[in-house]
């Protein structure tokens, strides 16, 4: 982790406690998680206790305290996807990649998460991998989709 990069991120925002969430979002985007050292620098610059950063980091789902995988798999659990069987898709990925929802594979290749509604209900059930969106996913199609990323 480079200290300078964190400083650059902080410099883009106002040095006020109210900017904390926005700064952490940028840090998360940069490192795919919130490294402890980075959080320490941020709270130091904003002159607030580290506990505040931790409380936010554990409250909002956008943040992670552990390193995340290179590819982020999100299975939509919106209502439309649910009634069209997205739960089965999620379980299938869990079995195939040997990873639980909310966690990352040991080789740091994939992180698997549930997400509530991506707003593409017409394509339900929906899975996204990084920026790619897959609609009308079936149990049969899923392994082929995952193959593209390994």
């Amino acid at each position: 982790m480079e200290k300078q990069k964190v400083e650059q991120i902080i410099a883009k925002h106002k040095s006020e406690p109210s900017a904390l969430i926005a700064i952490l979002q940028d840090v998360q985007e940069e490192y795919r998680y919130l490294p402890e050292e980075a959080m320490a620098i941020v709270v130091d610059r904003l002159n607030i206790p580290l506990s505040r950063a931790y409380s936010l980091a554990t409250f909002f789902t956008a943040f992670s305290l552990k390193p995340r995988g290179r590819h982020s798999i999100k299975v939509c659990m919106g209502t439309a996807c649910h009634v069209r069987g997205s739960g089965m898709i999620l379980e299938k990925i869990e079995r195939d990649l040997n990873v639980k929802r909310g966690e990352t594979t040991d080789d740091l290749k994939f992180s698997l998460d549930e997400v509530y509604c991506l707003g593409c209900c017409g394509l339900a059930p929906v899975v996204t991998i990084d920026e790619d969106l897959y609609g009308q996913v079936t149990l049969v199609k899923m392994p082929k989709i995952l193959q593209k990323y390994s």
Binding site: E16, P17, S18, A19, L20, I21, A22, L24, Q25, S55, L56, F59, F60, T61, A62, F63, M77, G78, T79, A80, H82, V83, R84, G85, M88, E91, K92, V115, Y116, C117, L118, G119, C120, C121, G122, L123, A124, V126, L133, G135, T138, L139, V140, M142, P143
Partner: protein, 601 residues
Amino acid sequence: MRPFRANLMICGGTACVSNRSFDIKKALEKEIEKQGLDDEIQVVTTGCNGFCAAGPLMVVQPEGIFYGHLMEKDIPFLVEEHFLKGRPVKNLMYVPPETEVPIPKMNDIDFFKGQILIALRNRGLIDPEKIDEYIGREGYYGLLKVLTSMTPDEVIKEIKDSGLRGRGGAGFPTGVKWELTRAADGDLKYIVCNADEGDPGAFMDRSIIESDPHSVLEGMVIGAYAMGASQGYIYIRNEYPLALQRLLIAIDQARDYGLIGENILGSNFSFDINVTRGAGAFVCGEETALISSIEGKLGNPKPRPPYPTTSGLWGKPTNINNVETWANIPVIINRGANWYSEIGTETSKGTKVFSLVGKINNTGLVEVPMGITLNDIVNKIGGGIPDGKKFKAIQTGGPSGGCIPAEKLDLPVDYESLAKAGSMMGSGGMVVMDETTCMVDVARYFLTFTKDESCGKCTPCREGIAQLHRILTKITEGEGTMEDLELLENLANVIKDTSLCGLGKSAPNPVLTTMRYFKDEYLAHITDKKCPARVCRQLNTYVINAEICASKGHGCGVCRRECPEQAISGEKNISHIIDQEKCVKCGVCFDVCKFNAVTIE
């Protein structure tokens, strides 16, 4: 400027983009150039057209011809036939399932017929990244009108007279809220646009921002003028990258034009807008939690009063409206309260945007007048239930709402009628359920969501919902008892009465409405240990009927090949067998068997 003779309006909403509509656009442009038509025909990317089920789609103007399910390979033929030779291509048009006759014009398709577009007035007509096109549709005329000819009090009166109520869920009269904010003490006031659309199954706010971001900005500037606010915030959900991008472009353009910022349109009124990204917490849709989050703090709700209108963001008077509410404002000002209040019912004026999803043919975004019946939405606009299945229920209001059964389909859609039926308007998600949807599972599903999203501050919500969820899980696994039903109801009412914020207060609604209208399904799970809809997997066993498989299917092996767990064994001409140990009860074999040899027991 040399005019074009045709504009091809390609849908650039999230669902169509996911279906590669940008590739279709490129292919069109290439082919149009090849045919030498590029100075006659223009291709335009618009926001969400609404008819997501037909995507990727485009509308050809001025004729209004609708093409759906486009593929790149269709484009050369389409360009030559329609745009060179003037013969619209029938097999790319929409075909309603019941008649099988293609319908050329968008406005003749049932999905579009019953709609009245106010909040979505520019849908499919403008490029959301071009402010001039918004102005070309009389955009910012409402702002011009208030700045040149209306006092703030007159603006508030107009909004009050229009009868507009908050489109985010609770339905509080917008004009009254504005009046309270204006009357509140304090020289510094804020307004906020709530774009933290969190209800699963709802995407109207995202679509409005994606297709017409300036309508929201203009509404906010008008509101700021009326309430005397100098700073506005838009709190947008993190999962909406395309909406965020278009919003930021729109704000830059409006600022360049001096439509936000210092001395708007040369007047002495100044107002600016900031964008705050949400960080993924459903509770932040609740207004006090949202305010906390903008302040950089935990998204915890606070007890009200004081209401944000007197003490909101940084303790200052703050008015919060959602995206759809703001998008209605410019039109109400421009065309007047009288015009607006003639649409809708006695207590619910105007239109409402709904996202129509689930087990329905015409999935998409619709804007309909208040008072329309659920039946018209489901069967006329929505085109009914796919695969000849039977309608069972429609869920409105997201996790805070409830399920309305088939016998109440002629219910008019307005705030009061939905509440009386035990549901609510909510932000506008409508999820259609058919005979293959299990209502106990649906209740459990929503409770899974609210359990995960409860902020944990108050006990009834944090512990109560978890307990409701545990009982429901027990029932779906066939372990429920009759006492559980009583417990569910008691506990649900306690949570309703004692939770701190709206999330907890409304969380039991899905349980209460499904118990009210679908008690027999609960009883089937408890006494017969059966899931009538065959959804609750612990209660299902998939079995292959040996005789049918061997005699009719001749052991075709499709199920064996498709089974994701290799749980099926068998050979040609011999009946196949499911290994119940390996079976995960996914239902693929049931779906793929052409001979109906797979049964659920």
